[in-house]
C-alpha cells in the first residue's frame, strides 16, 4: 500500500459503452485524486449512472481502461470491484427491502468476512470474534448516521430520507477506499439534503474516503465537490473546479442553461 499519494486513485481512459447500438458513453476520460470529493453532473440521460456502473463493474466498458488503485480492471466483476474497496449507493434504492436496518448493514460487511460457512453455522473458530467485530462496526455506523431509532425495523417501512442514510451506512461498512454515491439526495427536502451533504463531507474528512458523487442540486455540488466532471450525451464537456465549470459556456448551454446560474435548481 505504498502507492504514491500523487497518483490518482481512479483513472478512466477513453471509456466507451453502448447498449444495442445506442451510445451511452463515448471516450470519457477523467481521474479522481486520492481523498477528494469529485462530482459528476449532467442532464438526465447524460450517462452518469452508466459511468458509475462501469466503475464498479456492473457494466463492462466496450472500450477504454479503468484503473483503480493501480489495478487495471480487465477481468474484474462487480464483486471483485467491491473486494478491491469500491462501495456504492444506488439512485433507486437497492437496499434489501425486507431486511432490517441492522441486517442491511451486516450484509454490507459480508465482503470483510474471513470465516467459513462451517465456522458460521456451528459458531465455532473465528466466528465469535468476527461476530463481535461486525456488531461493533455496525453500531459505530448506526451512531454515525443517526440511525439508532431504526435498528430493527424493516427497511421498506422507513421514510425515504432514512433509507438513503441506511444505504450510505451499508456502503461505508467495509471501509471502502472509493465511495460512489448515485444521487444520494434525490427526492429529499432542503433540510434532509443539507443533513446528507454534511454526512458526505464528514465521511470524506473523518475516514479520508474518496467520493464520486452524482447530484442534480447544483448548489450542493458546488459546495461539496473539489472538482466537477460534466457529462452530456455521454461525452465529457467540462472538467475542473466548481468556479471554472460554472462559467464554462458549454456547460451553461447544455445543463445550467435550463436554470438560472444564480438559482440552483434541479433539472428533471
Amino acid at each position: 500500500m505504498s502507492r504514491s499519494l500523487v497518483e490518482p486513485i481512479l483513472q478512466l481512459r477513453d471509456v466507451s459503452l453502448s447498449f444495442k447500438g445506442i451510445r451511452a458513453l463515448s471516450n470519457v476520460s477523467f481521474d479522481v485524486a486520492r481523498g477528494e470529493i469529485r462530482a459528476l453532473i449532467g442532464p438526465n440521460g447524460a450517462g452518469k449512472s452508466s459511468l458509475l456502473n462501469v466503475i464498479n463493474r456492473i457494466y463492462r466498458a466496450d472500450k477504454g481502461e479503468v484503473i483503480f488503485d493501480g489495478v487495471r480492471f480487465k477481468g474484474v466483476g462487480a464483486r471483485g470491484a467491491a473486494r478491491l474497496g469500491i462501495s456504492r449507493t444506488f439512485q433507486h434504492n437497492a437496499l434489501f427491502q425486507r431486511l432490517s436496518v441492522l441486517d442491511n448493514i451486516l450484509a454490507g460487511l459480508a465482503r470483510k468476512a474471513r470465516t467459513t460457512f462451517i465456522e458460521n453455522a456451528f459458531r465455532i473458530g473465528r466466528d465469535r470474534e468476527e461476530r463481535r467485530r461486525f456488531a461493533a462496526r455496525a453500531e459505530e455506523l448506526i451512531a454515525f448516521l443517526g440511525l439508532e431509532g431504526y435498528v430493527d425495523q424493516r427497511v421498506s417501512t422507513l421514510p425515504y430520507g432514512v433509507q438513503k442514510r441506511v444505504d450510505l451506512a451499508r456502503a461505508l461498512g467495509p471501509e471502502p477506499k472509493l465511495l460512489l454515491l448515485d444521487e444520494p439526495m434525490a427526492g429529499m427536502n432542503t433540510g434532509e439534503k443539507q443533513q446528507m451533504a454534511r454526512f458526505v463531507s464528514d465521511v470524506n474528512e473523518r475516514f479520508g474516503t474518496t467520493i464520486v458523487l452524482i447530484e442534480h442540486d447544483i448548489g450542493i455540488v458546488m459546495d461539496l465537490a473539489e472538482r466537477i466532471v460534466v457529462l452530456d450525451y455521454g461525452r465529457t464537456i467540462a472538467d475542473g473546479p466548481p468556479q471554472e465549470v460554472r462559467s464554462n459556456p458549454d456547460v451553461i448551454a447544455a445543463y445550467l442553461g435550463v436554470d438560472n446560474e444564480q438559482d440552483p435548481g434541479h433539472a428533471d
Binding site: I58, G77, R79, F96, D103, R123, F134, P174
Partner: protein, 291 residues
C-alpha cells in the same frame, strides 16, 4: 374420531413439508422453482439404500450421502447456475426441469431401477395416545421436520451466511455489488437443499420403498408451496400439515357419499382456491421481480 383423522392427517402432512422445504430454500436464494428437488430426493435416498445394502453402517452411509450432495451442489452451480446467472427465471426453471431428468437418469444408470426397501429402524407401529391411534413413524417424521425447521430458521435468521442469503433473495444485483459471492451462496444453498432432500428421501423411502415414484414427490410439494408461499420456511411446514389434514378430512367425509378417495387431487383444488384468493400463499412475500 374427527380429531384422530385430523391429527393423522397433520402427521402425514409432515412428509409433504419435508419435500417442500427443499424447494423453499432454493427459491429463497435464487428465485427459481427447482423442479429437480424431487429427483434429488430420489437420488439421495437411492444412494443411501445402495450403500446400506453394500453393508455400510447407516450412520456412515448418511455422511457419505451428505458429501455426495455437496459435490452435486458444486457441479450444478458450476455447470448450470453460473452460465445462466441473471437470466430469466423461466430459463432457470426449464434448466431445472432438464436437470431433474439428468439426475434421475444418472441415478438409475448407476444404481439400477429396482425398488429398494429402506429400513430406518423405526417401527411403523400404532400407539394409543389419549384414546387416539397414532403412527409412531409419523411421530418420528414430525420430530425430524421439527428439528429441520429449527436448524434452518436458525441458519437463515442469525448467521452471517443467512443474512447474505436473504440479501441475495432480496436483490441480486445489489448483493453482488456489495461483494456477496453469489456462486458461494448457491453452493451452500443447493448443498443444504441436498441435505433436506436426504431427510425427505429417508422418510418417503421408508414409507413407500425407494423407487422412481419418489421423483413425483415434487408434484406433491407444489400445492404445499402455493399454499404456504414459495419463500417461507415455516410456510412450507405449516402448509404441508394443512394439506395433509385437508386430504385426510376430505377422504373421511367423501367416504360417506362416494366409494373411493379424493385425496389424490384434493390438494390441487385447495391450491387453486389459494391462487384465487391469496396468490402469495399464507406466508409468502410479494412477487419477486428479477432483473
Amino acid at each position: 374420531m374427527l380429531i384422530e383423522v385430523l391429527i393423522n392427517g397433520l402427521l402425514a402432512g409432515v412428509m409433504y413439508s419435508s419435500v417442500a422445504l427443499g424447494f423453499v430454500l432454493i427459491y429463497k436464494a435464487s428465485g427459481v422453482f427447482n423442479f429437480a428437488q424431487g429427483a434429488m430426493v430420489l437420488f439421495a435416498a437411492l444412494t443411501y439404500v445402495t450403500l446400506v445394502e453394500k453393508g455400510i453402517w447407516s450412520g456412515f452411509a448418511i455422511v457419505i450421502v451428505l458429501i455426495v450432495m455437496v459435490i452435486c451442489a458444486c457441479l450444478i452451480e458450476r455447470l448450470m447456475l453460473r452460465p445462466l446467472a441473471n437470466r430469466d427465471p423461466l430459463v432457470l426453471f426449464m434448466a431445472t426441469l432438464g436437470l431433474s431428468f439428468v439426475i434421475e437418469g444418472v441415478a438409475q444408470l448407476a444404481m439400477g431401477t429396482d425398488v429398494h426397501i429402506l429400513e430406518l429402524g423405526i417401527e411403523d407401529g400404532i400407539i394409543e395416545v389419549d384414546g387416539m391411534f397414532l403412527s409412531t413413524f409419523d411421530l418420528f417424521a414430525t420430530a425430524m421436520a421439527g428439528v429441520l425447521l429449527v436448524v434452518l430458521s436458525f441458519m437463515f435468521n442469525t448467521t452471517r451466511i443467512g443474512i447474505s442469503l436473504r440479501a441475495v433473495a432480496d436483490d441480486v444485483v445489489a448483493a453482488q455489488s456489495i461483494g456477496i459471492q453469489l456462486p458461494r451462496i448457491w453452493r451452500i444453498v443447493w448443498s443444504v437443499a441436498g441435505f433436506v432432500a436426504l431427510a425427505a428421501g429417508l422418510l418417503w423411502g421408508a414409507r413407500q420403498g425407494v423407487q422412481f415414484a419418489l421423483t413425483l414427490s415434487a408434484l406433491k410439494a407444489l400445492p404445499v408451496l402455493i399454499i404456504g408461499g414459495f419463500s417461507s420456511i415455516p410456510g412450507a411446514i405449516i402448509a404441508g400439515l394443512l394439506v395433509g389434514a385437508a386430504e385426510n378430512l376430505a377422504d373421511f367425509y367423501a367416504s360417506r357419499f362416494i366409494n373411493g378417495t379424493v385425496s389424490t387431487w384434493f390438494a390441487y383444488v385447495l391450491a387453486l382456491v389459494f391462487l384465487f384468493f391469496r396468490p402469495t400463499g399464507l406466508f409468502g412475500e410479494r412477487d419477486i421481480v428479477r432483473v
